[in-house]
């Protein structure tokens, strides 16, 4: 995991955090919109946004991939991609640093097996100007 870059903004400003995600070659994760109700979507949620107000999360366009184990193509993310989290700096945000903390839930498979869903912590440091 690399060092996060800070998000900075003034009160009432809209800010975006780009969250790079990398999936190991040979593996895929379900997209945020899987094709089957039983499949677990990739989902970013905010536990504590601090002085930021959390907004929408933009997910990349998934790819439809056909695997040996599935009859129909699956909606997945592979390789490197970015999630874009939108925030608004709160009107009464105190100047100074802080961090928004979220959770990224995902479930991965390779060509022959699937692995239990996992949750990774996401931290977006910010600086209110």
């Amino acid at each position: 995991m690399g060092e996060p870059q800070k998000v900075a903004g003034k009160r009432n400003a809209s800010v975006q955090a780009k969250i790079p995600v990398s999936v190991r070659p040979g593996y895929h994760v379900n997209s945020n919109t899987p094709t089957d109700e039983y499949l677990i979507p990739l989902k970013l949620t905010w536990v504590s946004a601090g002085a930021l107000e959390s907004g929408s999360v933009a997910y990349p366009k998934p790819s439809m991939e056909k695997y040996e184990f599935a009859e129909k193509p699956l909606s997945v993310f592979t390789g490197n991609f970015e999630l874009v989290a939108n925030f608004k700096v709160a009107a009464n945000a105190p100047a100074g640093p802080g961090a928004a903390v979220g959770k990224l839930r995902y479930q991965a498979c390779n060509e022959r097996a699937c692995f239990p869903p996992k949750t990774a912590e996401v931290t977006v440091p910010y600086q209110i100007q």
Binding site: G9, Q16, A17, I19, V122
Partner: protein, 197 residues
């Protein structure tokens, strides 16, 4: 509106280099194993889990039968491919001393498993697993993971990941044709120890 304008550095706030790592076992390639010779088999750990009726089921309840023990989950597509094969094996062999036991590793339990089983018309017994049971079997991480257990309750084969239907059919057939442990031990007794009727 300058106060609301973002600096270029803000607009492209690049965060953490997120890397989705999988546990070390997750990186292992799926593998299948043929039926092991008798001498290489180890006792399958016993467990007690609930079935859909709330009844406690122990693996030891099945001693004397060949058991196909399948760790699976509703979110696992490769598992879904194998389930109809297991249903067929159950249908064809249940009267020959064979049983399939499915152990679901879904965290949500019966809430998601029950409708899934109905949808597929699963004809064998399914239990809700837990971490303890998973640990007993080596920390089952990749799903499906399937154990073939002989009539003596020993692990005769392990399939990690999607295996071939043929592997299961051949394995089950081979184990069903093997003598029961009791019959085997009787055959091994010296003639002098046998009582005449």
């Amino acid at each position: 509106m300058s106060a609301l304008r973002l600096s270029s550095a803000l607009a492209i706030a690049l965060l953490v280099g997120w890397f989705i790592y999988f546990s070390s076992s997750g990186t292992r390639p799926a593998r299948s194993g043929p039926v092991k010779p008798d001498k290489d088999r180890h006792q399958a750990p016993d467990f007690a889990l609930k079935d859909v009726n709330g009844q406690t089921v122990r693996l030891s309840d099945y001693r004397g039968k060949v058991v196909l023990l399948d760790f699976w989950a509703t979110w696992c597509d490769p598992c879904r491919i194998e389930i109809p094969w297991f249903m067929d094996l159950e249908r064809r062999n249940k009267d020959k001393g064979f049983a399939v036991l499915g152990v679901s590793m879904d965290d949500e339990g019966w809430e998601v498993v029950k409708p899934f089983l109905s949808q597929l018309g699963v004809n064998y017994r399914v239990l809700i697993g837990n971490d303890e049971t998973s640990q007993l079997y080596g920390g089952v991480d990749a799903l499906p993971t399937t154990f073939l257990i002989d009539r003596g309750g020993r692990i005769a084969a392990v399939h990690v990941g999607l295996a071939s239907r043929r592997d299961f059919e051949d394995g089950v057939e081979q184990l069903l044709q093997s003598p029961t442990p009791a019959a085997a031990s009787r055959a091994a007794l010296p003639a002098s120890s046998l009582r005449s009727e």
